[in-house]
């Protein structure tokens, strides 16, 4: 079974024509994950180039490339690296491979199909940003990724790419592989650090715990996403100019987008950043190829489950952060979930709300209590036991999590203007708000689907509620 054995659906369209491929170029090979294949296709040349430069020069290249973080926040990697306080040692690189945002499955492919590219990226980052050690954190459920990265690390150690005096230089760095225990919230960088330290994976509060200042074991720490780092071999080998030649000034290069839902051809595509639009992605021949069964598009989630929803009105917005946020959402983790006109909107929202309520770490009250409350009301509504008062309560509970105006997309159908992203929040991290976002989008963009589900409060003498299970033993 080749590399694509597990992804038979993907065969054939990783390499379809003229699109530039920065991070997925090797996906087409069955042995894409081996060191031999990596060597044959230009592997570790970026590292060699980097080592010929001064670290500061390499860091400057990354800064000039405006490489945006792919973990969700879209923060420029080169700028982030500059935040570590001078003269504090040791300092660490932590690779965020916990990818678990609903709809997102690009990092998994990068780890399973091209682990050496990620390793090379880590080494370049450590060299350029002066980091003493690297910790690679892989999501608990990703067994194949873990296996392949582990094997690649062994091979790379043996080949002299990792460890002491890399490629005969004075540069030395070790990469430690860590397999998570399976919690969505651990993708949040400070929770990931807690988890790495052996603690319960709960986010720390920023300020003061910005990883760049106080990170792993209290030391300055750079946390970068897998895809972010996977771009570095290209930048090191070809220079920042080659990178910025692709895409737009604010969103250069390419990025991987996972498309799922009711398109004809779901999958992960490497698109040109900044110019490709949602319409291109969903309907393009090289990408999603349109809505299944000839149906109509009803709505889509543009940036992973925690992003406010878009509708057909927003199809022409390109993958460019600022345009997405003024339209009321975000690009997030690079995941587009498409819903066609057969979709039961309240039920779809319920699926997402349930996920975030379940994944709350329990640290802060609005998320721990509010998330589950939202879920239980919505569950009741979807089961036909809701009232119109419940809809108000949802908005009130939402206000306790995200006070003030809540971002949402414009809708010509409803005569709604967009409220730009972001929201305000009372929680520590974004899991709490993410439990409200889907139901808020659904209720705002499709009020009629809720209206038909609920009864008027006055005519209901009793509200049947499901008993919460008795916890503990």
């Amino acid at each position: 079974m080749g590399a694509h054995g597990t992804y038979a659906w993907a065969a054939g369209y990783f390499d379809d024509g003229d699109r530039p491929q920065i991070v997925t170029s090797r996906f087409k090979y069955d042995d894409s994950y081996t060191l031999d294949r990596y060597h044959e296709s230009g592997g570790y040349q970026g590292l060699r180039k980097a080592l010929e430069m001064q670290p500061a020069e390499m860091a400057d290249e990354v800064k000039k490339s405006t490489l945006l973080g792919r973990g969700g926040a879209g923060f420029p990697a080169g700028v982030k690296w500059g935040f570590t306080p001078a003269g504090v040692w040791p300092r660490y690189l932590v690779v965020n491979g916990d990818e678990s945002e609903p709809g997102t499955y690009k990092d998994r492919l990068l780890m399973e199909l091209d682990p050496h590219q990620l390793i090379e990226g880590c080494l370049i980052a450590c060299y350029a940003a002066g980091l003493s050690q690297c910790f690679l954190y892989i999501r608990g459920e990703m067994a194949l990724a873990h296996e392949r990265v582990a094997k690649a690390l062994d091979d790379a150690y043996r080949a002299g790419y990792i460890g002491k005096n890399i490629l005969g230089n004075s540069f030395s760095v070790d990469i430690v592989l860590h397999w998570g225990a399976g919690a969505y919230v651990v993708g949040e960088e400070t929770a990931l650090i807690e988890s790495l330290e052996g603690e319960r994976g709960m986010p720390r509060v920023k300020p003061p715990y910005f990883p760049a200042a106080i990170g792993l074991y209290g030391q300055p720490t750079i946390v970068n996403n897998v895809e972010t780092l996977a771009n570095l071999p290209f930048i090191a080998a070809n220079g920042s100019a080659a990178y910025t030649a692709i895409g737009t000034e604010t969103s250069p290069g390419t990025r991987m987008i996972a498309v799922s839902g009711h398109v004809k051809r779901p999958g992960v595509y490497e698109i040109i950043n900044g110019t490709t639009t949602f319409r291109d992605l969903i309907y393009g021949e090289n990408f999603g190829q349109g809505i299944r069964d000839g149906n109509e598009l009803k709505a889509f989630v543009p940036g992973g489950g925690s992003a406010p929803w878009f509708v057909a009105d927003q199809l022409d917005i390109p993958f460019e952060g600022r345009q997405a946020s003024s339209a009321g959402s975000m690009l997030g983790s690079g995941a587009v979930i498409v819903m066609d006109d057969t979709t039961d909107i309240p039920a779809a929202a319920l699926t997402l709300v349930k996920f975030y309520a379940h994944e709350s770490c329990g640290k802060c009250v609005p998320c721990r209590e509010g998330g589950t409350w939202l879920y239980r009301i919505l569950e009741r509504i979807v089961a036909g036991n809701g009232t119109d008062a419940d809809l108000d309560t949802i908005r009130e509970v939402g206000q306790s999590i995200c006070p003030g105006e809540m971002p949402h997309a414009a809708s010509e159908r409803l005569g709604l203007d967009a409220v730009p992203f972001p929201y305000k929040m009372t929680t520590i991290c974004f899991v709490g708000p993410s439990a409200y976002v889907p139901v808020h989008s659904a209720m705002t963009l499709f009020p009629e689907e809720f209206a038909v589900l609920v009864t008027k409060r006055e005519v209901r003498s009793m509200i049947p509620v499901t008993a919460a299970p008795v916890g503990g033993e």
Partner: protein
Amino acid sequence: MSDEPDNDLTNEDDLVAADTAVETIPEPDPNAVAITLNGREIVARKGETIIAAADREGEYIPRFCYHPRMSSVGMCRQCMVEVDTGRGPMLQPSCMITVLPEMKVETNTPMAKRAQEGILELLLINHPLDCPVCDKGGECPLQDQTLSHGPGESRFVEEKRHYEKPIALSEHVLLDRERCILCDRCTRFADEVAGDKLIQFIERGNATQVSTFPDEPFSSYFSGNTVQICPVGALTAKPYRFKARPWDLEQVESTCTSCSVGCRISVHSSRDELLRFQGVDTGADSDSVNWGWMCDRGRFNFESIEAGHRLGVPLVRSEAGLVDTSWNSALELARQLIDGASSIGLLGGARGTNEGAFAWAQLADAVGIAHRDAQLGDGLSAELLGVPRATINQAAAANTVILVGPDLKEELPVLYLRLRDAAVHGHTKIIEFSSQSTGITRYAWRSIRHAPGLGPVEIAKTLADPTIAAQIASGDVVLVAGRSNMAVSEATALAAVQAVLSAVPNATVLPALRRGNVVGALQLGLAPVDVDHDALATLRLAAAGHLDLLVLLGADPINDCPDADLARRAIAGARHVISIDTLPSESTQQADLVFPAAAFAEQRGTTTNLEGRVSRLNQKVTVHGTARPDWMIASELASVLGHDLGFTSIDDVTAAIAATVPAYASATPTAIDSADGVLAVNTGGGLPSVEATEAQPSGYDYRLVVSRKLYDRAVSTTMSPSLAKLPIGAGAHLHPADHDRVGEPDGAEVRLVSASGSVVLPLVSDDTVQRGTIWAPFNQAGADITDIVDSSTAVTDVRIERLT
């Protein structure tokens, strides 16, 4: 995975902005930070949080997880306020945000209030609201803040979360998970303050709960503190559970005298019955002792004061044993015994008040009692108190603390907490000398083991080491000095202290003597004039039949003297014995005359802690039976003996102390009642010179270490039902490797033989024990280890004999 919204300080730009802002603080007062709070200009302190600054300004921000003595976690989100650092107001948890110049803080805007109300509503949705049957009801921060900052009603119609209630976390502490609001206070306390990380959160999201680890109870010496700081009624302590409602409680502030740390506490009673003690934190700027914490022994041993066995009437020996008598005839009999005695010994006085000790010392002076000692051969020479003294705060701020004394976690628990904090969160480096691992070993910079008896040699050698000498030279040094091993002579222990002082002459000393008012008693006239008149000398005299009268002032030598055999012979050998005590002990049982004494919380007065800090003891309940305070018994005895001590009230005695004892000159009532108390330290003199006897290896196999555990056979422990089951029991603890050599299983009984006797004890394998030594806990139920200790030898060497 979201774009980080720009609504707060959560992105990297702000980190940079914050950093540069810190550097632009105006010169004049480097610690002042001017901020605006609710429109008012205030001066906050550099590095403090908004909530702390607001507290000082009297602006109350609601909170649950924040606790000023623990690190902030920003968990409950109750303390949200609007903070403007120049980029518009943002909702922020005020317990997490450090004040910055020109910061504008609004605690009551509609946005802030909506956030605060929202959190309270969310906290209540799953809360059982069983206030009518909850111990916390009436003093509950959740109730109080719901009233002051909460929404008027709940919109929650779903079924609440249910758990079995309550579950036991430990012997004392029960957890009701339905009431728990998951504020992380108890878990943080266990980890950060006590260092006993035995409780943790388990599960996630809505199912998150506090839990112990499987099969490992929350058996911390400090567990009671979690009950005190729990902001709801989720944690309850068995001794108080369901005993009273807060509005029925009366309380006064006092000082715990269960050990000489002297924790500030409040004493609660209802219907003239003691129900609970709580730690008092006098405030970040003024609390110099316990920071609000207590140990469980001090917290729960009030039960012994209410115990059924209290002495309530004077007792006199007759053919039928001890029988009740009247105060008049008891005093008359005491007069006869004193008048008729040509030699009298007075032991004890360290468990009571300054006033009791002082009055008894006055009486002893009047009657001419030459043999007196507040300690029982289990402490260190009173001259230790002549060395320049350190306070707890000074120790906790010192660069170096040298520890030559008992296991502080076992004997002076809250001092252990303070030093642990200094080592973990401060910059203090601890150098510990001991014969086995102690509670502080984990936190010590250097923990140096020596064979029992070889402390002085090891200390001199170690302190000469260049690295250690450099550390010592780097700043203040405080020596915490006491008796680590009661199987080694006092002279050897003193030589160890001297070895430190001669290597570090300007070290100040914190005496680690254990009994509640031992320092007060020694400073107020109950110290022996020399070693020929100390407790051991007195007991030897009595054992030899040369003492006419032995007066035991709250002292139980049979259980507290390291040489139990000597104590037993002394009590048998003294012609007469008078005991003044609150509870019957082995020693009172053998007295000819017993006076019932007023206990803690049954009398007013003052006490002196190990720092020399004089603080207030207050009466909360009526004295048991006809018991009287020590000072009054001394006064009355004096008057039947024809002396007038001149005291008609406790305040007379307090005033006389201030007037006649130079160290106590400033111990006026107002000064004593101040938050900080007043320091009474009389330095000068210095230590007597002792020869460190080089204890040579002997033909025996093991050298004995005898030291105290927090819970032992002390009457206040055994008479407190909650504590009575906690002592570990007598045993011979051996390093596992030595244990293997003995060839007997764990728990098997063996005979320990020393030059002066033998005792049969169970073997216990214990890796805190050094190889080549046996550690035996002092004063535990079972055979008396002190039977084989001879107080006249430098060390005690023993051999193990198998019984099979």
